[in-house]
């Protein structure tokens, strides 16, 4: 494996990530073939950078400070056209300043619009989404948040989803 972003992490975080990787068990991996050519697909982006619009509720940092084992498992809608002027990043495990200086660093909506006008993809979905990536217990994420996002993306006739970590 030539990809090595561990070198950007401190030693402790690196060791925890490796321990988590070693514990995972693979199940059957799903696969949905592209329903149509990529140049006709509507694409939605999902970031885990903890992005919330300034007119929306922030991700809950107070509760995480009170219970550091907990991370906010809810999601925020980021409509196409939202820029770094309109948001803040509420993720205490990454440096939020890069995404707040240029939202495309974590949620590349402008880049997606450019690639759509080039013809690589059909179009950018009208709505994109953010989660907050520090979630140690994924129960709510799996049972509630992800299915709710899937429903919303179906309503927008999304064909394909790009997940962007933070």
């Amino acid at each position: 494996m030539s990809i090595d972003s561990y070198r950007f992490l401190d030693f402790g975080t690196r060791q925890v990530m490796k321990a988590w990787a070693a514990r995972q068990q693979r199940g059957v991996i799903p696969f949905t073939p592209l329903a149509k050519p990529l140049r006709e697909c509507t694409i939605a982006l999902v970031s885990t950078a903890g992005i919330a619009r300034n007119d929306d509720q922030p991700f809950d940092q107070k509760r995480e400070r009170r219970d550091p084992w907990w991370g906010d498992p809810s999601f925020r809608v980021i409509p196409l056209g939202t820029t770094e002027q309109d948001v803040r990043l509420y993720h205490m495990h990454i440096d939020p300043r890069f995404g707040e200086a240029d939202l495309d660093v974590v949620l590349p909506m402008r880049r997606l619009i450019e690639l759509a006008s080039e013809g690589l993809v059909g179009q950018a979905a009208p709505r994109h989404y953010s989660l907050m990536g520090y979630i140690l217990d994924p129960a709510v994420l799996v049972k509630e948040t992800a299915p709710a996002l899937a429903d919303r993306m179906h309503a927008d006739d999304v064909d394909a989803v790009v997940l962007v970590p933070a």
Partner: protein, 136 residues
């Protein structure tokens, strides 16, 4: 993230994930994955580097068109322009996340983090040899 991706895929979407820690994502197993050696917090690249960001997104989207079956994995060739030390130092002035502060005060709880036995509430300080209250 891998769990969320698989739920989307089962729900009928074709999905691709970018990952800075593909080892972890591949351990879960996902339909389509692009590994990238970028620092956390900057998955697409440097702020205001539109060309670099577009290249990363294009390479990630390409996998949607080329993957023939599950567990498709591409290592993206992008090279981060700073040294790892410089990238880490850029964020050195930030306060540590709450879990780091907690584990500094109660290092015995590190076993929970390593093992994935996540307490549901802040545990009272356990006596040595016990692990305190645990969740599932």
């Amino acid at each position: 993230m891998g769990l969320v991706q698989n739920i989307f895929e089962v729900s009928g979407f074709s999905t691709v994930a970018l990952s800075m820690i593909p080892e972890l994502t591949r351990a879960v197993g996902v339909p389509r994955l692009a590994g990238i050696s970028h620092p956390m917090g900057r998955p697409l690249g440097q702020p205001h580097d539109a060309d670099g960001q577009r290249a990363v997104l294009r390479a990630t989207l390409d996998i949607l068109a080329t993957a023939q079956g599950p567990d498709a994995y591409i290592e993206l060739p992008f090279v981060w322009p700073e040294s790892p030390a410089r990238a880490r130092n850029a964020s050195r002035d930030l306060p540590p996340p709450p879990i780091v502060a907690l584990l500094k005060a109660k290092p015995w709880l590190l076993v929970n983090l390593y093992s994935g036995r996540i307490p549901h509430e802040v545990t009272p300080a356990p006596t040595p040899g016990s692990r305190g209250e645990e969740g599932i």
